[in-house]
């Protein structure tokens, strides 16, 4: 069942690219949608299990499906579904739409592979796959800014990849193999050459920091998010960066590096830096997408902070916040797509009184922003609460306080933006817009319902996110 998740998009890809005239762009989108939603259904229906593929040589490949992977798969399915719908509505040209869906399927394979694998080098390969698909998609319309954004992302991503590979080389030296169990073995208590292994770990993690867009390695992120076409931003911000950087970090730090104290300390510092820098930078932005990009940096900081803390509760909070962030960022970028389509710009200075003209978009955006800021009873409130509580319990009082203050800061700038753009006076640019059509609104509405639903039902669902710390399947 598990290889299916990686192979199904491949099959879909091959079928879609057969030279059959009847395939129009809607069919492409529908197939993509089926695969993405099917992924969610598949995870829901199957109990967790560990799949081993054994090979003639007697060696075992690992694909793992623990709770963390399942949550990620659902998030991937959701964000990609939203991206496909948004892409279908905003990319009108036939061949571009086809390329878009093709690349979405490639990134689906890349991301599914990343969350399911148990080998450091294969992790690199599939992260690069996701990356390559992202670069191409950012430059889909080949506009001047988009090419620049894509190139910056590419260079930094490639350098990060090289760092990861250096780490792999060092691990090869000490562990003799690159799969998770061997590498854990090399870092464990009685292993030979612990020094080299620790250097390897550090180098590898630095690579992941760049990929995930954490301060101070976030240079490429705002450019990439804001210059990408709308559908691509949904995918990029919603899930691709999360999987490549943050998920990989969680998986590696928690399971492979066994929560090394030095690493945890670095994560705490970088996390808090990301939160504060992201929040402050978002304040000064006039472009909607750039503001959302800096907000992403800030929210990822919360996740990293929790990972650095390391307790079971903190990890659960981190994963929950990751999931929530995928939901509300996809939602916000879908809204941004709707606004961009109707208004023709994402410059917030020109937006005023959108609430009256685009009521549903404004409502769903408000829900997402409140969830990001951590207002009850939305899901964002719960995940932030867990993270702050976990930090407090672990004695990291200072960090907890800064996290809460930054949350208030987030609330402040979001409310400020809300007031101006959605509820203020109707500016001339906005005077003639109408609400976006139903199809474009659908992902926004559905994702908003997910945020509300998760928030209300959280006490019952807490279990599903909590069993992370206890899984150690190898």
């Amino acid at each position: 069942m598990l290889p299916l998740l990686v192979l199904a998009p491949l099959v879909g890809l091959i079928i879609l690219n057969l030279p059959i005239k009847a395939f129009n762009r809607t069919l492409f989108a529908v197939v993509g949608l089926v695969l993405a939603l099917g992924q969610i259904a598949l995870v829901w229906a199957n109990p967790p299990g560990f799949l081993e593929l054994s090979s003639p040589g007697g060696l075992v490949l690992g694909l793992v499906e623990d709770n963390l992977a399942r949550i990620m798969l659902v998030a991937i399915g959701m964000a990609l579904a939203a991206a496909i719908v948004v892409g279908h509505e905003t990319i009108k040209e036939e061949s571009r739409q086809r390329s878009f869906i093709n690349l979405i399927l490639v990134s689906m394979m890349g991301m599914n592979g990343t969350v399911l694998l148990t080998d450091l080098f294969s992790l690199y390969v599939f992260i690069e796959i996701t990356g390559v698909a992202s670069f191409i998609m950012i430059a889909l319309h080949r506009g001047k800014d988009a090419i620049e954004g894509a190139f910056k992302y590419l260079i930094l991503s490639a350098v990060a990849g090289a760092l990861m590979l250096l780490g792999v080389a060092f691990f090869l030296l000490t562990a003799g193999a690159t799969d998770f169990s061997s590498v854990s073995g090399a870092l464990a208590e009685g292993a030979p050459h612990p020094g080299i292994a620790r250097v390897a770990m550090g180098v590898f993690i630095c690579g992941l920091f760049v990929k995930g867009g954490m301060v101070p390695f976030h240079g490429w992120l705002p450019a990439a998010y804001s210059t990408a076409p709308s559908g691509v931003s949904v995918m990029l911000a919603g899930i691709a960066t999360k999987v490549s950087g943050v998920y990989a970090l969680i998986r590696v730090v928690r399971f492979v590096f066994a929560q090394d104290p030095a690493v945890s300390q670095i994560l705490l510092i970088l996390g808090i830096l990301s939160i504060v820098v992201g929040a402050l930078a978002a304040l000064g932005q006039t472009d909607l997408k750039r503001m959302l990009a800096y907000s992403s940096i800030s929210q990822v900081g919360y996740i990293i902070l929790a990972v650095g803390c390391g307790t079971e509760v903190a990890m659960a909070g981190a994963v929950f916040h990751l999931f929530n962030h995928a939901v509300f960022k996809s939602l916000l970028f879908s809204n941004s797509a709707a606004v961009e389509q109707q208004l023709g710009t994402t410059d917030m200075d020109q937006m005023g009184g959108l609430g009256t003209k685009m009521p549903i978009t404004s409502l769903t955006a408000t829900i997402a922003l409140l969830s990001t800021a951590g207002i009850p009873p939305l899901s964002g409130f719960w995940s932030k609460l867990i993270i702050v509580a976990a930090l407090w319990h672990a004695g990291l009082h200072g960090y907890a306080v800064i996290a809460v203050l930054s949350s208030l800061l987030t609330l402040a700038y979001f409310l400020g933006m809300e007031r101006r753009a959605f509820f203020g006076k109707v500016t001339p640019a906005v005077a003639n817009v109408r609400e976006a059509n139903l199809v474009l609104l659908a992902p926004a509405v559905l994702l908003a319902l997910v945020t509300i639903g998760l928030g209300l039902c959280f006490p019952y669902l807490a279990e599903s996110f909590m069993v992370l710390g206890r899984d150690r399947l190898w």
């Binding site: 800014d145 090419i147 190139f151 260079i155 350098v159 090289a162 250096l166 003799g176 705002p222």
Partner: protein, 103 residues
């Protein structure tokens, strides 16, 4: 392998990596950035094979390197595509003209 030779190998790898990284950071031409990236890749390739040689896992190291080369080639081709598109848009591959998008 004697310790002395090993230190020379490490020096060689490190110097290649530094050259490549320096090039990527300092240069003002998009094409040269890609050359720098290629140099970094060579350093990493050598590092992986060296690790394989020292531990005797020659087959594994070579498999990793082969995959690595394929991945890098694709990334490079995409980079070249972006550079050519940029050239078509701007008439130049100078990075100083591309400071449009902040951040």
């Amino acid at each position: 392998m004697s310790g002395e030779l090993l230190s020379f190998y490490i020096a060689g790898i490190a110097l290649t990596l530094i050259s490549g990284a320096y090039y990527v950071v300092v240069t003002t031409s998009l094409v040269r950035t890609i050359i720098g990236l290629e140099l970094v890749t060579k350093g990493v390739t050598l590092a992986i094979i060296l690790a394989g040689h020292l531990t005797g896992r020659v087959g594994l190291a070579q498999s990793l390197v082969i995959t690595l080369i394929v991945v890098e080639v694709v990334v490079m081709v995409v980079a070249v595509g972006l550079v050519l598109s940029a050239y078509k848009q701007n008439g130049s591959v100078d990075t100083r003209l591309l400071r449009n998008v902040k951040g």
